[in-house]
């Protein structure tokens, strides 16, 4: 009905001079005010969440939190060291497995696939990015936990790898697209084969953007809980063995938040503070770098 083409026809009755101008002005003011209100409303939750994480988390934040293991439920003291170690390990595993695949896939999309192929793979990457992380967890459960016969940090790391792949692949794709064609042509003109042009010339030129993309992905998987529940499971002891069940900060926050003890709640807030600080720092850094890169294109 009122598609783009019919817009002028829709506007025809506006030209009746002055008749209901007052009503139109009032409507205009009300609607614009509502849009402004929506903007304010959207900004409120971020402020509230950050504020409470800071207020509740700061008092419980201390060295013991990240150096000590949990004590028996309800007694004071102790920390979430196994979760810190587990998160570091599993995020590392996820990044080490996922990033090379993602960067190579990004290269294929931008440099080799060509119009239709590139569109198709981008579509698949976006669809993968939209899969609920809990389904990724179930996949890793069937793929790793069932055959291995035990929950493990490795299974958690593999689940995280599958989450980081679409994020990094898309950003690599975008960043390679920012490298001007003239750079590639200059290398070709010198007789350098395409693959070496990509590895030695194009990738270095795009590396800052790709690295920030990887950081963005790392920040994202560091906060994931759902894919770890039936892969890493959780653990009260510090372990560095990828074959054993492993703890993670988000898992620990979930367990402590759902439990009945005040000391647990305090530690959940403190652990959240650590996690949020980490994630936001990465996100802000990423944004600053990406904006400079993409902004310079014109």
């Amino acid at each position: 009905m009122s598609g783009a083409a019919t817009t002028p026809a829709g506007l025809r009755r506006l030209s009746v001079p002055g008749r209901d101008m007052r009503r139109r002005r009032t409507t205009d003011r009300i609607m614009l005010a509502l849009l402004g209100a929506a903007a304010v409303l959207a900004a409120v939750p971020l402020v509230l969440v950050l504020l409470f994480v800071l207020i509740q988390g700061l008092p419980a934040l201390n060295v013991a939190l990240i150096t000590q293991s949990p004590v028996p439920a309800g007694s004071p003291g102790g920390g979430v060291a196994p979760a810190v170690v587990g998160t570091l390990l599993m995020v590392t595993v996820g990044t080490v497995i996922g990033t090379p695949i993602a960067v190579l896939a990004g290269i294929y999309i931008r440099e080799y696939a060509g119009g239709r192929g590139a569109t198709l793979i981008r579509f698949l990457v976006d669809v993968l990015a939209g899969v609920p992380t809990i389904a990724i967890g179930l996949f890793a459960y069937g793929l790793v936990v069932v055959p291995m016969g035990s929950f493990s940090g490795l299974a958690g790391g593999i689940a995280l790898a599958m989450i980081i792949i679409p994020i990094v692949a898309r950003i690599t794709d975008e960043m390679l697209g920012l490298v001007p064609g003239s750079v590639r042509e200059a290398a070709y003109a010198l007789g350098i084969p395409p693959w070496k042009t990509i590895v030695r010339v194009v990738l270095p030129a795009a590396s800052t953007g790709i690295i920030t993309g990887i950081l963005l992905g790392v920040a994202r998987i560091a906060g994931e809980t759902a894919p770890l529940i039936f892969t890493a499971l959780g653990n009260d002891r510090i372990t560095t063995s990828l074959g054993e069940p492993m703890d993670a900060l988000p898992l620990r926050i979930w367990v402590y938040a759902s439990g009945p003890y005040d000391s647990w709640h305090a530690q959940a807030w403190a652990a959240s503070l650590v996690l949020v600080f980490l994630v936001l720092a990465f996100a802000i850094l990423t944004r600053l770098v990406l904006r400079r890169r993409l902004g310079s294109r014109g």
């Binding site: 598609g3 402004g36 900004a43 792949i165 926050i253 938040a257």
Partner: protein
């Protein structure tokens, strides 16, 4: 940009058969295939681990209302219902706010404000789900109980939507948390499609004497309609698949109730909550069957949304990374 001269010279000096190109090409193609393999693997592996449940539950799984692991009776309807109720309600709220924000950012906001505000909304998406859950349990739910649910219950308690006991934890808290989490998706995609509307649309409306709101309503929104619809569907996929925050505030009770004050359960949260307790094979398999259902639904919804958004603003995806 400088081409590395050393590399060029070294390359020119050599004359030998080159395997580099096909090997590298194969490698990057293989990496792309991994993405396809993961999507295929997701469906195949989850379906096969759910097979015991599928065989045991049959088609009645979809409309069975009883979830009784002790008697091995598994009906998924309470979870499907809970997922739809919370995700759709949250989506409606998030669309109202998110499209409003997007219009504000593109059409009204001065430049100095648009940057920081857009940034804040993107940061909403960066906060881990479990932190929203924690905040939901200890801050949001008590506040909702005292200042929203109690007044609603005492004035409108005769409506089925507000019957029951106002305890904070429940469908309403889940809807609010979900709204916050879906909002950045809706706002970001809407902003992209709205800024892809050509300036001539606005100029034409303004030249005919339209007010700013009329310009938006008649010039901008019709043009961006299918893209905004896509934003909504993407938001729906996000809301349907969201797990932790909802699990922590919805109350986890497999009941079908119209009331926002009642406790509910969603597909994602029943898997998260009961999986490690599921001792029998058929119980665990039935949970995975819910996961399979969730996966299929989100795959379809996501694919549809991407197609819609792409048609409108494919070229502006890179802008969304920067703006």
């Amino acid at each position: 940009m400088t081409v590395q001269v050393g590399a060029v010279r070294a390359e020119l000096g050599r004359r030998r058969p080159r395997f580099g190109e096909p090997v590298f090409r194969g490698l990057v193609a293989l990496a792309s295939l991994t993405v396809l393999a993961i999507i295929a693997g997701l469906i195949i592996v989850i379906a096969s681990t759910a097979s015991t449940g599928i065989a045991h539950n049959g088609l009645g799984f979809l409309w069975g209302t009883t979830w009784d692991p002790v008697r091995n009776v598994f009906g998924a309807l309470p979870f499907i219902y809970g997922t739809l109720l919370t995700a759709v309600t949250a989506l409606i709220l998030a669309m109202l706010i998110g499209v409003g924000v997007a219009l504000f950012l593109v059409e009204l906001s001065p430049r100095w404000l648009a940057g920081p505000l857009g940034f804040m909304i993107e940061m909403l998406a960066a906060i881990p789900s479990v932190v929203y859950g924690l905040w939901g349990i200890f801050v949001l739910a008590p506040w909702l109980r005292d200042y929203v649910e109690v007044p609603l219950h005492s004035t409108l308690g005769w409506l089925p939507f507000f019957s029951g006991y106002p305890i904070g934890i429940g469908n309403l808290a889940a809807v609010v948390v979900l709204t916050i989490m879906v909002l950045p998706t809706v706002a970001a995609v809407s902003r992209d499609v709205i800024s892809a509307v050509p300036g001539s649309q606005r100029e034409a409306a303004l030249a005919l004497g339209a007010t700013r709101w009329e310009t938006i309503r008649m010039g901008v929104l019709p043009y961006a309609r299918s893209g905004i619809l896509g934003a909504g569907i993407l938001g729906l996929a996000r809301g349907v698949g969201e797990t932790m925050a909802v699990t922590m505030v919805i109350g986890n009770s497999p009941t079908i109730s119209l009331s926002f004050l009642a406790q509910g359960y969603t597909m994602a949260s029943v898997i998260a909550n009961e999986f490690t307790e599921a001792t029998t094979n058929v119980y665990r398999s039935s949970l995975i069957e819910i996961g399979l259902l969730l996966l299929i639904v989100t795959l379809i919804v996501n694919a549809a949304a991407r197609l819609l958004v792409w048609r409108v603003s494919y070229t502006s995806t890179s802008r969304s990374l920067a703006a």
